[in-house]
């Protein structure tokens, strides 16, 4: 046993581990800073409510990380394992429709009594594990490029998942899951031409699905809220008090912080101006308080995790390892981009949290699970390299 641990610790990817821990702790501090006034004035709770809650989340998440880091990734291609994962994904997605409750717009939460869970978050990680397993098995059988046998079934599963999430309706999660799925497929080893064909089929299918919807259910698709958000994306300052308010306040936070920042705890925007400053808009608070230093710290940390994952994917020989690493890295990268891109006006604002930094139980536990998988893959990759 001692030797086992020794072997593990020798092969651990320390930079990845340290970055993960550093970001989580930094996030914890910023959650405390961002949520203090909000907790008191909006919810009437103690100032450290969100801080303590996140501390609990992290103390649950870290064991999850350790377990999944110790769990050999090869098992994810096991048929039973894959069925279990699929089962969990769909159980959650079906349950959320039956007994779920809305936590701000979408009906995306299930109350388990002791905690609340977002099945779409589970689906994000689950879909990576499932797709990686499926494609790895097909790869091993050498039939990865057989469209009907290898590609169509998992794509159908992915579409089903997306459809369920769409029903919630959690468009942000749907886009991320879809994008993550495409990224896993990109790393699956299928031929480039086939991928292009696949992409055009998916796009055509999406068009076939979306166009009639736009035509027949215009008023439901283009709700006032969505159009307003879209308009706010293009001209946020023209509707500063309406839909543009959130994004403008995000800008004001970054702008008034400047390069140097106002100092830790000095954000004004977090005092009621930014909505939920400890979740979606936490980067605005970081920028306002810590300036370019805080922004760089978070971005460099996240970039390191994403790019390290992708570099493992680039260099590993094992298709399962490659897809798992690419999937986890892409998920983190996509979430980061959707969150920060929305904040900075590159893309429209969607309700997506910033990985490791934002407050949220399900999110941080599943990210830790994913990080564990990445850690495990990285360790095997290290061993693989050493062997040669």
């Amino acid at each position: 046993m001692k030797q086992y641990i020794k072997r593990y610790s020798k092969n651990l990817d320390y930079p990845l581990l340290l970055t993960y821990i550093a970001l989580s702790i930094f996030g914890l501090v910023m959650i405390y800073s961002a949520s203090m006034a909000w907790a008191v004035n909006v919810y009437g709770w103690e100032a450290d409510h969100f801080y303590k809650q996140q501390l609990v989340n992290l103390s649950l998440a870290f064991p999850v990380f350790i377990v999944s880091a110790l769990f050999p990734y090869k098992h994810f291609s096991n048929k039973g394992m894959m069925k279990l994962i699929l089962g969990v994904i769909f159980l959650g997605l079906v349950l959320v429709h039956l007994i779920g409750y809305a936590g701000g717009g979408a009906k995306s939460w299930i109350n388990l009594g002791f905690a609340s869970v977002q099945p779409s978050e589970v689906a994000k990680v689950g879909i990576i594990l499932y797709l990686s397993g499926v494609f790895a098995n097909k790869n091993r059988k050498g039939m990865i490029n057989n469209f009907n046998e290898s590609i169509a079934p998992p794509v159908i599963v992915l579409t089903l998942v997306l459809f369920f999430v769409f029903l919630e309706p959690d468009l942000g999660s749907m886009i991320i899951i879809g994008a993550v799925g495409l990224c896993v497929m990109l790393a699956s080893g299928i031929r480039f031409k086939l991928y292009l064909k696949l992409s055009s089929i998916v796009l055509a299918g999406a068009a076939l699905f979306i166009l009639p919807m736009i035509f027949f259910a215009q008023d439901k698709v283009f709700t006032e809220k969505r159009l307003g958000r879209l308009d706010a994306f293009f001209n946020p300052f023209e509707d500063e008090l309406g839909f543009g308010m959130q994004i403008v306040n995000g800008y004001l936070a970054i702008g008034s912080g400047g390069l140097s920042g106002l100092g830790l705890g000095q954000s004004v925007q977090k005092l009621g101006y930014l909505p939920e400053p400890h979740t979606d808009f936490i980067m605005s608070v970081i920028a306002e308080e810590l300036g370019v230093f805080g922004v760089a710290f978070v971005l460099v940390g996240l970039a390191f995790i994403v790019l390290r994952g992708l570099s493992i994917a680039m260099t590993t020989k094992d298709p399962l390892a490659r897809m798992l690493a690419a999937g986890v890295a892409s998920m983190i990268g996509i979430q980061t981009f959707v969150n920060l891109g929305g904040l900075t006006g590159i893309i429209p604002l969607t309700g997506v949290t910033l990985p490791f930094i934002s407050y949220g139980g399900t999110s941080v536990i599943l990210l830790s699970l994913a990080m564990g998988v990445l850690m495990n893959v990285s360790m095997f990759h290290k061993v693989e390299k050493l062997k040669k």
Partner: protein, 776 residues
């Protein structure tokens, strides 16, 4: 090993993609941080503007105070009710901050506000439909008192807020209203409400009364809490200055009460009264009717004139005091000299005394002024000469503004072109003056010859800065007569109250001596001719008390009262005068004088006692006893037992048997009526006042069927009779006047023969009535 390395294109693509995206994000954020701009918007400045709040610090409007700093007008804190409708006001569903149940809210509000449930519901519904953040309820939701606000708060309705709202309050109600005026809320172009003076002192001194709003600039978070470490800039509000008047709230209240009582009883067309301190010229009270309540402006008509200074009147007989004063000063006054009263000829013009020009035969000048004889004034003018007299009129300040510290003062017009103008001026007809001019001129008489300029504003002082922008001091307006002359005039005027011929007998005070001159001035009608009719006069009094050393000076004018048949026009005037002066002097702690009080006797019950014994006993106490019959036993009495009567009063004892008429001369109407009732004789009373003649002489034996006619007339010894003895006991003035007085147009009236100014009038009707009665 390198050979074995299989480059995976998909992972590489992803690597490049995410590397690019991270770079893009970093570049974007740092660009915003470095430039501080997005889409050309200065973010830091925009943020600062967003946090910065400005709060108006409302300046209070200055107060209007009386001489003792008692409040006449002040801003008071009331509340304005606001109903928040938008659910965006609520951040926690457990603590709603907007109206949730419209129906219930309307129910509860309608219980507390003046608006109906339907009205409130309509406003709320309308607001919800239009998506308004909040609604107000107009006047029903304004000026809510603190108590009411607390009551509503206890109802615990969500979304009901109270906003501070300053209201101008006049705690005394109708109180020198035409002088004080009023201020009301006015909406500026920007929708901002300001209190603005609209009338009277509120309007005149609006500038100093209005304060300057301050403001407080500070930074807050979204919830309105001050940001930590942020500085706030405060420009304090400067409250408006307090305008302190010379008015005395207590005196003004006495005056207002007395005016209201008279107003109610006599419903005159107009009343004016001014009280001043003759030693300083300070106006202590000023009132007029009709008046209004400045809080509600109820009763406010089109007439916004402060009539004491803005209305010109033909003063009538009060003017005579200045004619006499001039004569004394000129050494042309000999009270014991005699003249032939009745009429006076000046060229083609003939003037007459007010008793139809009949006069009172040859009388002394003292009696002349006591009887308010116009002819005596004509002789005084003749002795002084026109120029001399006009010099005094000018010195007394007539014909020009007094310069009181109020705008729009009228100057009046002294007619002196023709000799006849000057002649009628001696008794106050033709020329016009303002009440305030009479007050100023009379101050010379009251204040030992030194005329004091009237003023109403004591000082204007800012309560915040302590800055005094105006401070008034008593100011002399000249010395038209000497102290000795003034004293003599006061004595003469006092005699008009006390003497047996006195025209101002009803103006005697209980505990103080008084001096003054009544007036019954004709008033021009719409056609420019003097009006006719018993009530159509301006009854007035210009007087002072105590006579020896006047502390209060008053002018009272009552125009066109509805007089009961048995009353003279001077009655309503005297009612105001006696109550205000008596109470006022006591309020000022002026020592009551040692008045010579007549001995009084309290009556017992004499029923069933021996008439002879009782008569002897009462006669011994100085009373006149009259028996109605020859029997020896008393069956009844007048006045009743327990009554206190003055010496020389007539006591009637009812005894049966043959009635022997007494001498009725001097009996009051009430006594005559009592005699009639007790004796059972049929007495017919003709006229008003006191008995002067009887159809069957004293000592006549009469049976119940024999009619006895008793003629009443103005009493000659009326000064002994007090107001409280009842209306019949109130003798007013002279008797008789010319009947054709009212025929002439106003302008020529003054000069025309037989014209009577002054007191004439009550007697006019008196005489006419008597005649009618006699004819019957």
């Amino acid at each position: 090993m390198k050979k074995k390395f299989r480059f995976q294109w998909g992972a590489f693509l992803l690597f490049m993609l995410f590397a690019g995206l991270f770079f893009l994000l970093f570049a974007r954020i740092v660009t915003i941080q470095a430039t501080g701009q997005v889409e050309g918007q200065e973010l830091a400045a925009k943020a600062a503007a967003k946090y910065s709040q400005e709060q108006v610090l409302k300046a209070e409007r200055g107060r209007i105070l009386d001489r003792n700093a008692e409040v006449i007008a002040e801003d008071t804190l009331t509340y304005k009710l606001v109903a928040v409708l938008s659910d965006s006001a609520t951040q926690k569903p457990s603590n709603p901050r907007h109206v949730i149940d419209i129906e219930k809210t309307a129910d509860v509000l309608s219980e507390h506000l003046t608006a109906s449930r339907e009205t409130i519901l309509k406003i709320l519904k309308n607001g919800v439909e239009k998506g308004l953040y909040q609604v107000e309820f107009g006047s029903a939701g304004r000026e809510i008192s603190h108590t009411k606000m607390k009551e509503l708060e206890e109802e615990g309705l969500p979304g009901i807020l109270f906003v501070n709202d300053l209201k101008r309050l006049y705690p005394n109600g109708a109180f020198a209203s035409h002088l004080i005026g009023f201020a009301m809320k006015e909406e500026l172009d920007g929708g901002q409400l300001v209190t603005k003076g609209k009338m009277g002192l509120e309007a005149i001194h609006d500038g100093v009364l209005t304060g300057k709003n301050g403001k407080m600039e500070f930074n807050t978070d979204k919830w309105g809490y001050l940001l930590p470490n942020s500085e706030s800039a405060v420009t304090p509000a400067v409250d408006g200055s307090d305008v302190q008047l010379t008015l005395d709230k207590t005196l003004e209240n006495f005056l207002e009460d007395a005016m209201s009582t008279v107003q109610k009883e006599y419903t005159p067309k107009r009343m004016i009264a001014v009280i001043a301190d003759p030693k300083t010229g300070e106006i202590l009270a000023m009132s007029q009717r009709p008046t209004f309540n400045p809080n509600t402006r109820e009763g406010l008509s089109d007439n916004w004139l402060n009539e004491s200074i803005e209305l010109t009147i033909e003063p009538g007989s009060p003017m005579k005091m200045f004619t006499v004063a001039s004569a004394i000063e000129e050494g042309k006054w000999d009270p014991d000299a005699t003249y032939k009263s009745g009429t006076y000829k000046l060229g083609p013009d003939v003037i007459g005394d007010h008793n139809s020009g009949r006069g009172w035969g040859t009388i002394t000048f003292l009696e002349g002024i006591q009887r308010s004889s116009n002819v005596s004034m004509a002789y005084l003018l003749e002795r002084m000469g026109k120029e001399n007299f006009l010099k005094y009129i000018d010195a007394f300040g007539f014909g020009e503004k007094t310069g009181i510290d109020l705008p729009h003062e009228a100057s009046g017009k002294i007619l002196d072109k023709y000799a006849s103008n000057v002649l009628t001026l001696t008794y106050g007809q033709g020329s016009t003056v303002t009440p305030i001019q009479l007050i100023q001129a009379a101050s010379a008489i009251a204040n030992d010859g030194v005329m004091m300029k009237p003023y109403v504003i004591d000082q204007i002082k800012n309560p915040d800065t302590g800055e005094v922008t105006l401070k008034s001091e008593p100011e002399e307006a000249g010395q038209p007569i000497s102290a000795e002359t003034a004293k003599e005039v006061r004595e003469i005027l006092a005699s008009t109250v006390t003497s047996e011929h006195g025209s101002a007998a009803g103006f005697a005070l209980q505990d103080y001596s008084s001096a003054g001159k009544t007036g019954t001035a004709q008033i021009p009608g719409e056609d420019g001719r003097y009006m006719t009719g018993r009530n159509n006069y301006l009854f007035s009094f210009l007087g002072m008390a105590p006579a020896e050393d006047p502390k209060l000076l008053i002018y009272i004018g009552v125009q066109q009262p509805n007089l009961p048949a048995n009353e003279y026009g001077s009655v309503p005037v005297s009612k105001i005068f006696t109550s205000v002066m008596e109470n006022g002097l006591k309020h000022m702690n002026i020592e009551p004088e040692d008045m010579e009080t007549a001995k009084t006797v309290e009556l017992d019950d004499y029923k069933d006692k021996s008439a002879k014994a009782v008569a002897k006993e009462l006669a011994g106490k100085g009373l006149n006893v009259v028996l109605t019959g020859s029997a020896s036993k008393v069956e009844g009495q007048y006045p009743a037992s327990g009554e206190v009567v003055l010496e020389n009063e007539t006591i009637i004892l009812k005894t049966s048997g043959t009635t022997v008429l007494p001498d009725f001369t001097g009996w009051s109407k009430r006594s005559v009526l009592a005699y009639q009732a007790l004796s059972g004789t049929s007495i017919q009373i003709v006229g008003q006042g006191f008995a002067v003649s009887q159809s069957l002489s004293k000592g006549s034996k009469v049976s119940q069927e024999d009619p006895v006619v008793i003629q009443l007339q103005t009493p000659e010894d009326s000064y002994k009779v007090r107001m409280k003895d009842g209306p019949e006991g109130v003798p007013s003035a002279e008797s008789d006047t010319t009947a054709d007085t009212t025929e002439a147009p106003a302008e020529e009236a003054a000069a025309s023969a037989g014209e009577a100014a002054g007191e004439a009038t009550e007697e006019t009707t008196e005489e006419q009535e008597s005649e009618v009665n006699t004819e019957e």
